[in-house]
Amino acid sequence: MAFLELRKVAKRFGSHEVIPPLDLAIEKGEFVVFVGPSGCGKSTLMRLIAGLEPSSDGEIWIDGRDVTDVLPKDRDIAMVFQNYALYPDKSVYDNMAFGLRMRKTPAREVDERVRAAARVLGLDALLERRPAQLSGGQRQRVAVGRAMVREPKIFLFDEPLSNLDAHLRVHMRTELVRLHRQLGATMIYVTHDQVEAMTMGDRIVVLDHGRIRQAGAPLELFRRPANAFVAGFIGSPAMNMLPCVVEQHGTELRSGPVTIPVPPPLRAALKPWSGKAVLFGLRPQFVGLAAAPGSGTLRLTLDAVEHLGTETILIGLHEGRPFQVVVPTMVGISAGSSIFATLDAGRGHVFDAATGDLIAHGSDVDASVPESIAGLGHVS
């Protein structure tokens, strides 16, 4: 039995079903990230686990105990809120000690645990301050400290970094991953930021309209997305999706005026789809530039050029959809320029245009990960 199990858990608000019956198992010590766009149900799912929302159906088990109808205080979980939810009238010390005092922990032990957590989080000098006297990053650390001292079975993080500036966010991301490694605790983290999901989680659960669209290791989701939704959501910039029709018994994909030759390993999978509409997904990192048009090249007029320093993102339109190309830093190219893009079709993915379900992955999707993405590899 897994450490945390959701069995057919569902949530309805009146007649509106926010989370259809859903199963999920999380192992002890895992760092699982719930990711998805706004309104996908990720925070609701976390609140169900915390007991802050009653589930409409199903069971929630933590460490072999059915906690479906158990109050939050008796579930042995701790939570870090998006706005930190620190008690404004209490000092940092009292904020961290509050949970232990409510559980009648002996005063000496409370003191030891609070000071130990403060040391780990670098809060030693701030223990007497009130939350209003702290910076955003410090408040965030107090919120983590308040969860830490409790030594709970499960840590829940509800978009805890979204109120921080970009620089601090990157820093705290690393801190939280380090903390997870140090404590070996089970953590569930909610975010809408796929970069956070990719960099922090052992496993990512991608949610859409309350359904799990795919769950797996970050690179597995990146390389082998199970549907067009995950393919489009995971990875930055987003995967290009070319609307195509399968032609010539699966040997060619026609996308507007462009014919893309299908590599041999993909042909068998596409043969039954001959004449049907599909989406051909290809990451912007696997698109190259050509000096002149050739077989399967796309002519793009650029709407925008984003120079990021280490790389340049070229953005154009193909068949009414944005098409992006990531190339090493380029100078002398600007919006309005025309380029010829070559597609590394072996690294592409083909999805059913109607349902978004996967038809086939290219044969080379696992071959290598471009340098710019390798940096996102998760830390375990």
Binding site: K73, P88, M102
Partner: protein, 274 residues
């Protein structure tokens, strides 16, 4: 810049006029209370007159105003002690449970405030008489609580709405049940709101005239009722009445000055957001 200054000057002039307008009756009453009637109402008005505190001393010591003040204080304090805790608990529940039923309940509370007091005073009188409670503190306190409750609930609810719900939830996660979360986390944050609500509730009960006139008697007569008895044609009564009016204000004024810090904090409660 010039336009902005002009607007500010206009606002300042407007506020000054408003202040003068508001303070005139009080200053006039003060002037009447410290003069002999012959000086107070002489035409043309006399500016420089030797002040006398005869009427102040007379009304407090000679005419039993100390006793009336005590009655007013007991009724006002009793009203606050019942209406604020009850209102606070109800307001917390109504701020956290936002269903159609709770909204209907909230709106129905306002209905009590919509009736003119004179309409309500008759049933209260009938009830008090049938319970043989006329001229008792509990009858007057119960009536004041009933009148004040909608106000305390609405005011306290607005304070609770300012406190993020995540604080309740953080307390639940930290090991509190609903009562403990309210008592340990939410209530300390709502304290400025409770002070403001208590002060307003106190003022309403302290200044109430109509209900006091009907429900109190010789043993429980309050200051507003007592002062009204001195509004006759005899000019000497005018000075007594003015001295009483100034006297009735002083305890409340002192109270307000003492709690001014809480009052300001309560009215700017947004500051509790962490």
């Amino acid at each position: 810049m010039v336009r902005r200054m002009r607007v500010q000057v206009l606002i300042l002039v407007g506020l000054t006029l408003f202040t003068v307008f508001s303070l005139t009756p009080i200053v006039w009453a003060l002037l009447i209370s410290i003069r002999e009637p012959i000086d107070a109402f002489s035409i043309p008005p006399k500016i420089l007159v030797e002040p006398t505190f005869r009427y102040h001393v007379d009304i407090w010591l000679g005419r039993g105003f100390l006793g009336f003040f005590l009655n007013s204080a007991i009724i006002a304090a009793g009203t606050v002690l019942v209406s604020v805790p009850v209102g606070t608990l109800a307001a917390y529940a109504l701020s956290r449970i936002q269903t159609r039923a709770s909204r209907s309940l909230l709106m129905s509370l306002l209905v009590v405030r919509m009736f003119p007091h004179v309409l309500l005073v008759i049933p209260f009188f009938v009830m008090a008489r049938s319970l043989e409670m006329i001229n008792t503190y509990p009858a007057m306190i119960a009536a004041m609580v009933a009148l004040n409750q909608p106000f305390t609930v609405w005011l306290m609810r607005s304070f609770f709405l300012e406190i993020p719900r995540e604080l309740d939830e953080a307390a639940y996660i930290d090991g509190c049940n609903a009562w403990q979360a309210f008592w340990n986390v939410i209530l300390p944050l709502a304290r400025p709101g409770m002070v403001v609500t208590s002060l307003f509730s106190l003022l309403l009960a302290y200044n109430e005239f109509l209900f006091a006139l009907v429900l109190t008697g010789t043993d429980t007569k309050t200051l507003p009722v007592a002062i009204a008895e001195y509004g006759g044609e005899d000019l000497n009564y005018w000075s007594l009445s003015a001295a009483g009016a100034i006297g009735i204000m002083l305890p409340i004024l002192t109270f307000m000055l003492f709690f001014q810090r809480h009052l300001v904090r309560g009215l700017t409660i947004g500051a509790v957001k962490g």
